[in-house]
């Protein structure tokens, strides 16, 4: 009889089977074999068989490794220790086969041969090794130019969409920014000393292909300030059906420019009279809908940069948050001093004020936006709110009264 009767049921079906795949590693690796056996046991018991993680790592680093031990080590000795190694991915997850084979070889030598491509934060996750293999594995990785990603209360591995490498919508160089920030914050990534985790994700445009708005303490999203570029001939070609909507990626053969594009524009800032398409760009909110449906007719503007949004995280503790706008527009060119300095200022404010395990977004809610903006030296932009407050409970500081004495007015009359 099979060791893994329940898992075996996952070998069939059209989607790639991790069971089939892992059985290959199991054939040569006791850890992989016991992983499957213990997993099958979990399928039977409907419960995890991993103990609460312990603290393991490589010398000098406080992060990059997640310790893990089986709670049934006698039954499954191959996974008594089964730590993971987070390998910092390259920007945009581009690889050469040479590099990938190197990584595989290292992991075949020092671990279970099982991995995630990739982890949810972005790292390549090597799944399952023992404590004594950590240091040799790390040495081989660095020798080949690789390093560990983040874990714990530290800067986490930044990630980005592929941006200018292969996307016409990229408003700034996501891959370069991601690389530069990763380098800039190496120390903070490997030596946890923040109140909690800190994540950065870089998307090249409001399509947000790395979901940064939902899962990055700092979301950097590309945007343009000027006008959408229009190729009227191509608009005609879409209207005529020679060009397919969304580059051919939809079930719909032909675009009805009015019904599909201009009527669905959320700001109603477009007009199409059957001939010429016009856009009132001052009222466009960069939603990307029109551009996505007619990529050959419409292009993002040329005065480009990024919006910074801050504060998203998963629901623990206050409920999930999405990031909100803190800087509507920042030019985004190497060496990226402005954003680097801002991040450093944010870290300082957060480290000084944040409670243990308080994300920066939670701290902003707790202390209020004024405290944040003042501390990092930013003006509060009207774009930071979707709507101003409805309640009348607002504060006045001495500096407000001083400003009034000096002539501040709250509306121009």
């Amino acid at each position: 009889m099979s060791d893994t009767p329940l898992l075996d049921k996952l070998e069939t079906g059209p989607w790639p089977s991790f069971v089939k795949d892992l059985k290959r590693a199991a054939a040569r690796k006791p850890a992989a074999k016991d992983l499957l056996r213990q997993l099958d046991r979990s399928y039977k018991d409907k419960i995890t068989h991993w103990k609460h993680g312990g603290i393991v790592g490589v010398l000098g680093y406080g992060s990059g490794i997640i310790g893990r031990y089986s709670d049934l080590p006698d039954e499954f000795p191959g996974v008594e220790h089964f730590h993971t190694v987070r390998v910092n991915q390259p920007s945009g997850w581009f690889y050469t086969t040479k590099a990938l084979r190197d990584l595989c070889d290292i992991w075949d030598r020092h671990g279970s041969s099982i991995l995630n491509v990739h982890g949810s934060t972005g790292d390549m996750v090597f799944l399952g090794t023992t404590t004594d293999e950590l240091e040799p594995c790390f040495a081989e990785l660095t020798a080949k130019g690789w390093d560990l990603g983040g874990s714990g209360s530290a800067m986490r591995t930044p990630s980005c969409c592929l941006g200018k490498a292969r996307c016409e919508y990229a408003c700034y160089d996501t891959m370069d920014l991601c690389y530069q920030l990763t380098q800039e914050f190496q120390f903070d990534m490997h030596r946890p000393s923040f109140p909690y985790k800190y994540k950065i994700k870089c998307s090249g445009c409001p399509n947000d292909c790395v979901a940064s708005v939902a899962r990055a303490d700092l979301s950097v999203i590309g945007v343009w300030k000027d006008d959408i570029r229009i190729d009227q001939a191509a608009v005609k070609a879409y209207a005529g059906g020679e060009l397919k909507p969304r580059g051919g990626g939809s079930p719909y053969a032909k675009l009805d420019v009015k019904a599909d594009v201009t009527d669905l524009c959320p700001t109603a800032c477009m007009k199409y009279d059957g001939g010429k398409l016009t856009i009132d760009n001052k009222n466009c909110n960069h939603c990307m809908h029109c551009i996505s449906l007619m990529p050959q007719a419409l292009r993002i503007g040329t005065e480009t940069g990024a919006t910074l949004l801050q504060g998203s995280h998963a629901p623990i503790l206050e409920g999930a948050q999405m990031s909100w706008v803190i800087v509507p527009f920042m030019p985004m060119e190497a060496p990226y001093d402005e954003i680097k300095e801002l991040i450093a200022a944010i870290h300082e404010w957060w480290s000084e004020n944040g409670k243990n395990r308080e994300r920066v977004g939670e701290l902003m809610l707790r202390l209020g936006m004024r405290s944040f903006f003042k501390a990092v030296g930013l003006e509060p932009p009207a774009q930071t709110v979707r709507t101003p407050r409805a309640n009348p409970f607002f504060f006045w500081h001495a500096e407000d009264f001083e400003a009034e004495a000096a002539g501040r007015k709250y509306i121009k009359l």
Binding site: G92, C167, M175, C209, A211, I316
Partner: protein, 356 residues
């Protein structure tokens, strides 16, 4: 001993880019989706790059990665990448080689798709494969759901793109909270306090302050050096367990799956939205979780039938109204659906804008 190398960060991406990308970096003009899973990007220079996108289990072996490498070596001069949803992309300049890539993928069981109006890969987490807090497995459910909805991965049949994500506990490492459909592992019973272990393993003030609802108090018997849990206040988030291993929050019978729907992150037409609770509980039923796959299929099918062109799941639901969504999907409305957490008020219907 040689000097230890640290803090070098990842290799610079430059060395991994195919020449056509280096040459046309930042110059891409437009793209077409030639068929499901196959993209063509055209540069201002006229250069083209083709990308063939394939599905992956994400939980893979070095054997599998090497198989991918074989394909990339054969057809792509050794260049490839992975996507933000754990798909693999083969990058090539010679359009005639696309068929070869597809064939080779077929041989190793890699399905082609995930572009445009498809269902892409399911972003997911560790589950019973590696984590200490899951209510459910991750990889097994993903496999079951993707088997069931396979037809949507390699086609452009849906009204818009659909993104499913899975997280095996409320920590939500899959960041499921903004997904068209979110599969979420939930505990439904309070932690059981292991007093003996607690005194050795846990710091009591940290444990107490970990609880968002203030359900944890010091044990009245001071000698025990432990805590008690007010079960009425506990909503099984497991945060205390994260801080204190002596508070396991598992119950093999009661744990299970909740489905949340209607989230998105793109700004297309509508702003990013959270996923909202649709099905509060489905049983944890390995190895194939039939109730989960059926429920998701039902929701996806109703969406595909009911949505307007270009409408994401959440846009569809918001347009017809949640009460209609529940009716259409035959989901009874329960107390669990009604928010009673921090910002609950904003979810209440303070208008006559509802349907009977």
């Amino acid at each position: 001993m040689a000097e230890r190398v640290t803090d070098i960060g990842p290799p610079h991406f430059d060395q991994f880019l195919p020449p056509v990308i280096k040459d046309n970096y930042g110059k891409w003009k437009y793209h077409e989706i030639l068929e499901p899973g196959v993209l063509m990007h055209v540069s201002e220079s006229g250069a083209k790059i083709f990308s063939v996108r394939g599905g992956s289990a994400r939980l893979v072996t070095t054997d599998f990665v090497k198989e991918l490498c074989d394909i990339a070596d054969k057809f792509c001069d050794g260049y490839m990448r992975f996507t933000s949803r754990n798909n693999v992309e083969f990058l090539l300049t010679d359009q005639s080689k696309i068929a070869g890539v597809k064939d080779a993928c077929k041989k190793i069981g890699v399905p082609i798709g995930a572009t445009g109006h498809s269902l892409s890969n399911i972003v997911h987490t560790q589950g019973w494969v590696h984590c200490h807090t899951p209510a459910i497995d991750a990889s097994g459910i993903v496999k079951s759901v993707m088997d069931d909805l396979y037809e949507y991965f390699g086609s452009h049949k849906l009204p818009a793109q659909v993104r499913i994500a899975l997280a095996c506990c409320l920590n939500m490492c899959g960041a499921v909270h903004c997904s068209d459909i979110a599969i979420l592992g939930i505990h439904r019973t309070p932690p059981k306090v292991a007093h003996e272990k607690l005194r050795h393993l846990c710091e009591i003030p940290t444990t107490i302050s970990a609880c968002p609802t203030g359900a944890i108090r010091p044990h009245p018997d001071k000698n025990l050096k432990s805590v008690v849990i007010n079960e009425e206040r506990c909503m099984y988030c497991g945060n205390c367990y994260t801080m204190c291993p002596a508070l396991p929050v598992f119950d093999a019978q009661k744990g299970g799956v909740a489905l949340l729907v209607g989230g998105k992150v793109s700004n297309s037409k509508t702003p990013p939205m959270f996923s909202k609770l649709a099905v509060p509980y489905l049983p944890n039923n390995p190895p194939r979780w039939p109730e989960v796959t059926q429920a998701i299929r039902k929701i996806l099918t109703k969406y595909a039938e009911g949505a307007n062109k270009w409408e994401r799941v959440g846009e569809w639901v918001e347009r017809i109204g949640w009460e209609k969504f529940f009716e259409v999907c035959e989901i009874p409305f329960t107390f669990q659906h009604i928010d009673d957490y921090r910002w609950a008020y904003d979810t209440y219907r303070t208008s006559m804008h509802f349907k009977f």
